[in-house]
């Protein structure tokens, strides 16, 4: 009797799962399980909001991306702590777990991403283009984290300083007190990659950054390197006229400078990059919107936004191959199918251990 009742009650439930209303969006691992893109969009509209974190508007053209998503799907986007680091993204999600303020999606560096793999922090999800994304299978076959775009490190500088053609130009007295690095390598991946870039340009490898550190010491001894942490304000006002940072930051600076009638140039002595990763929070308060955001950013449309911001999307090679890369994107990041070399997380850890004492010894102050 009781069993019959259970069965009778269960039948309508089983039936209704075919309708999108009953899909548990926090469990689905692909769009097809959630009624396709249209199903995701409808469910997201119902949720009404997406929480993103640590996405500065000038960073890899996230400003354009966020506006594009809002326009396409008509949902609100709550942007928390735009200047936060990868670690702070995870911390914010943990702190706000269970509330609707917890971030839905992350945009994180590899070191932090790998650290939280298999810890029930991320919800695995394969976007429709997953098979065409560079590095996706190598980084995480389970798709808890998905490589999204690669930033190439570069040296940005004020056009008023002339043109830099080789690294040694930076030792010129005219650069006295002008060269800054975005952060300290112990904390910032941009700073770490800046050292990797200079190291590589001087013939060093990812396993041994001593050549790069020696060059920074020369810059420091010449009085050209300063330990100031460059900000938008120091760049715009000319207090840090040479900044070693990611290309997708410099692209934003070029635009800002141009608006002020100034020129900002870039010099890339060696191609060194780092790939960021997208991930969905396992306890995302808006699970459908989180997945829709993944689909949007890692599609042709999203990739073009990133390209315009100077970042190379992991879908770019596929778009070039199939002739779907936008002309504007191509003029921003080029036609190259080769993506900048990257350090593995082991190499980063090794460099960090070395830099712990070598970096303050080279550029420290008293």
């Amino acid at each position: 009797m009781a069993a019959a009742l259970v069965v009778a009650l269960a039948i309508p439930v089983v039936q209704s799962t075919s309708a999108s209303a009953a899909v548990n969006y926090s469990k689905i691992t692909s769009a097809s399980q959630g009624g396709g893109l249209a199903g995701l969009a409808a469910a997201c509209k119902k949720e009404g909001q997406l929480n993103v974190i640590a996405l500065p508007l000038y960073w890899a053209n996230y400003g354009g991306m966020i506006d594009g998503f809002k326009k396409a799907y008509g949902v609100k986007i709550d942007e928390a702590n735009p200047e936060g680091s990868s670690q702070e993204e995870i911390d914010a999600a943990v702190t706000n777990k269970g509330t609707n303020r917890s971030p839905d999606v992350f945009d994180i560096g590899l070191a932090v991403g790998v650290k939280y793999l298999n810890t029930a922090t991320f919800a695995p999800y394969k976007v429709r283009m997953w098979n065409y994304l560079q590095f996706a299978k190598d980084v995480d076959p389970s798709a808890e984290i998905t490589p999204n775009y690669t930033g190439t490190m570069t040296i940005g500088y004020s056009g008023a300083l002339g043109t830099i053609t080789k690294l040694d130009d930076l030792l010129d007295p005219k650069f006295k007190g002008k060269i800054a690095l975005n952060g300290d390598p112990l904390g910032s991946s941009a700073a770490m990659n800046g050292i990797f870039m200079i190291n590589k340009a001087l013939g060093g490898t990812f396993d041994d950054v001593s050549k790069g550190v020696a060059f920074f010491k020369k810059l420091k001894d010449a009085g050209n390197f300063i330990n100031v942490n460059p900000t938008e304000a120091t760049i715009a006002s000319g207090q840090t006229p040479v900044v070693i940072d990611n290309g997708y930051i410099q692209a934003g600076v070029i635009k800002q400078m141009a608006a002020a009638g100034k020129v900002w140039k870039m010099f890339t002595p060696a191609a060194v990059g780092s790939t960021y990763n997208s991930a969905i929070s396992a306890w995302a308060p808006h699970p459908a919107c989180a997945r829709l955001w993944m689909e949007y950013t890692l599609s042709e449309t999203g990739s073009n936004f990133w390209a315009l911001g100077g970042a190379t999307p992991t879908l770019w090679v596929h778009l070039l191959k199939t002739g779907r890369a936008s002309a504007a994107g191509k003029s921003a990041i080029g036609n190259s199918k080769a993506v900048a070399e990257k350090a593995t997380s082991d190499q980063t850890a090794k460099a960090r251990a070395y830099l712990k004492t070598a970096w303050p010894a080279a550029v420290g102050t008293n």
Binding site: K115, G177, T365
Partner: protein, 305 residues
């Protein structure tokens, strides 16, 4: 005396109820304060102190406590923090003290007094990115003064901005908010110096230096030292200013804590951050205990006058 006793017993027996509730409702007034300090001061402090005795898996452990204590880099950062705080506390206390004295001797309620106090209240809060930016734009390598000095004063220190990017530069920036804070803290004490004391000293044939030696300085010393301790703690815990000007992860303890919390290059270690914060709490507790003892001395003579 008897009257007083009568009053006490009378109110306790007579309208005990209303008195009881009135004394209880008086506590309601401090409830917001208590809950505020509880949530934003006591709980985080407890979090840090209890966290210092745990590893990154939440197990009880003193391993990190010991390893940080013996780590030369952490010690160096701590030493830098202590040195910077001591320097800026002493300089800030002396300059701020003199400035407060100048204000106190002026016309009370006059324009200069009002402007100076208002300015101090604002500047005591002026720190972080804005302060660094102001100094960079003024004294930095690409700042206003340097551009001017290289033309007209090429042999002075103004023509070489390297001092700004060091411990000394940071000390100058810190004193920029330390001096006004000192003025705010020390001014009330100076205003409490009664002119009658000076008159009494003069009437008894005391000379000016004797007045200062036997009356002025002994009375001011405890509160001067107390204010200096406050300044010490103020710069010991400052973070944002140093983070922008001196971009080195292990330069000061607050910077080291930030790196341990937010590192993107695999250096994230929350347990270490808590241990570092715990050592800072110890220093602050020592300083604040000394401050409390000094305050007791100050309030002694304040009540007697």
């Amino acid at each position: 005396m008897t009257q007083l006793q009568y009053k006490r017993t009378g109110s306790a027996t007579g309208r005990a109820g209303s008195r009881y509730w009135r004394s209880k409702t008086a506590y309601l007034g401090v409830l917001p304060f208590l809950s505020f300090t509880g949530i934003f001061l006591l709980y985080p402090t407890w979090n840090v102190v209890s966290g210092a005795f745990r590893d990154n898996y939440g197990e009880f452990s003193t391993t990190i406590l010991k390893s940080v204590f013996n780590d030369p880099i952490a010690r160096h950062a701590f030493g830098n923090s202590l040195e910077l705080s001591a320097k800026t506390a002493v300089i800030g206390a002396i300059l701020g003290g003199l400035f407060a004295w100048a204000i106190a001797t002026g016309k009370p309620g006059g324009l200069f007094y009002k402007v100076a106090v208002a300015l101090s209240s604002v500047l005591a809060q002026f720190g972080g990115v804005m302060l660094v930016f102001a100094f960079l734009a003024t004294f930095g390598f690409n700042g206003l003064v340097l551009t001017f000095a290289t033309k007209f004063l090429p042999t002075t220190f103004l023509a070489d901005a390297s001092w700004l990017y060091s411990m000394n530069g940071l000390a100058v920036l810190y004193t920029f908010f330390q001096i006004p804070l000192m003025v705010l803290v020390f001014l009330p004490t100076l205003e409490n110096l009664k002119p009658q004391w000076r008159e009494a000293s003069d009437a008894l044939g005391g000379k000016s230096f004797e007045y200062w030696l036997r009356v002025g300085i002994p009375i001011l010393t405890p509160s001067f030292a107390g204010a200096a301790l406050l300044l010490f703690v103020n710069s010991f815990s400052a973070y944002a200013t140093a983070n922008v000007l001196i971009n080195l992860a292990d330069y000061l303890t607050p910077l080291q804590i930030a790196t341990a919390l937010t590192s993107e290059t695999g250096g994230s270690n929350p347990a270490e951050a808590k241990v570092l914060a715990f050592y800072m709490v110890i220093v602050v507790v020592i300083a604040m205990t000394m401050y409390a003892l000094l305050r007791r001395k100050v309030s002694n003579w304040e009540q007697r006058r």
